[in-house]
Symmetry: C2
Subunit: 252 residues, 2 copies
Amino acid sequence: MFETYEERMRQMKLYVIGIGPGGEEQMTLRAVRALEKCDCIAGYRLYLELIADLIAGKEQIQTGMMREVDRCTAARDAALAGKTVAVVSSGDAGVYGMAGLMFELCEGKDIDIEVIPGITAACSGAAVLGSPLTCDFAAISLSDLLTPWEVIEKRVLHAAQGDFAMALYNPASKKRTDHLRRVCDIILTIQPPETICGLVSNIGREGESYQLLTLGKLRDTPADMLTTVFIGNSRTRVISGRMVTPRGYRGV
Amino acid sequence: MFETYEERMRQMKLYVIGIGPGGEEQMTLRAVRALEKCDCIAGYRLYLELIADLIAGKEQIQTGMMREVDRCTAARDAALAGKTVAVVSSGDAGVYGMAGLMFELCEGKDIDIEVIPGITAACSGAAVLGSPLTCDFAAISLSDLLTPWEVIEKRVLHAAQGDFAMALYNPASKKRTDHLRRVCDIILTIQPPETICGLVSNIGREGESYQLLTLGKLRDTPADMLTTVFIGNSRTRVISGRMVTPRGYRGV
């Protein structure tokens, strides 16, 4: 398949691509061009469906949500076999995406990994709500599948003590229905129940919706795994129906 | 200029657009299409130069770096006069961008503000380094022009105590040369000097470069305003010359 060693080396290219919240319009041109170069695309089924037109006719490696390691191992092996491979994540490739795992799986292999960033839910969800993350913020996943729950609780507490605005990823799943409530109770030990919060669901996809509410009310509001939760800091307020954390230009 | 009130209302549209780190290739298609619709583009000169081809022939509102309020007020007034206006920020429109200020300036006016997110430096810089922000992270600006220095110190301390990876924006300027050193000294009270850190300069632009180093060494390394600094958490390590925070899939 390869004429020379150098030629083979040129083929060992693996892209990890963040496709943003959903669909081609929210990808960068750089991401689109990289996908076009690839023979083989690996990703969670839902994400591949979002970019179906772009990857039509290409080999696809699909597995369900919980099979990340299998999928990424298969992608690595396809790259080692000489294919030009893309591993796609929704949102950004780095933030809760597959980039870290691909570096781990390719350690010691001669594969050139190029990470192509995408719009993460902290940014795409914030844009729907207004501008809740104008200043310093913390991104925290409430999933305890890969992070111990005590670590999550500790991070939420420190983020509240530091008066960070927060973007909370994976606020709930079918098995974890009370994580958001428990986290709100931690924040309520620091911040008042009137703190402005926001929920955004199906960001950038069909059915996109958002809701502004107080921290006290958020505590009793159900969320699902397609929702990103935003917690304001001490200066966040509602302006014309949107959630805004002022930067401070106007001395506010 | 307008036939009917309804027609005028349709004109009162203002986009706040994140153009990503630099140049059209790193913008989303949604951002490009919005710019095409606009009559008038407001932004810092350097950012408008990055997208010069896209906005050729359009009215431009440029002011220097420190004149954000003047520029955004002029953009609002152009929208009120019936123009379709875009205010552009580098990176994301929300994160340290102009979205928050535009909502403040347009409060009480009949202007429909649409925020179009872009790739923020936390994500674009992370992609250059490897995957330092795979898990929970905090974004903190070290500029004390709009945030009191004590607040910045408090946030850095809590981010370190929470074992967040960190993306530090605006680590220095001509007037502020010691902020990064002071912040490293705070983190060093919590994390060991061997903690993996990274610097990325001119992300996505000509002259892009990066450097991996330890926290102990970062303390004595100069940075400038075109650099974004990444601080690893307790699990961040170097894999094949890149900075990687494992997500935990492999039980690491």
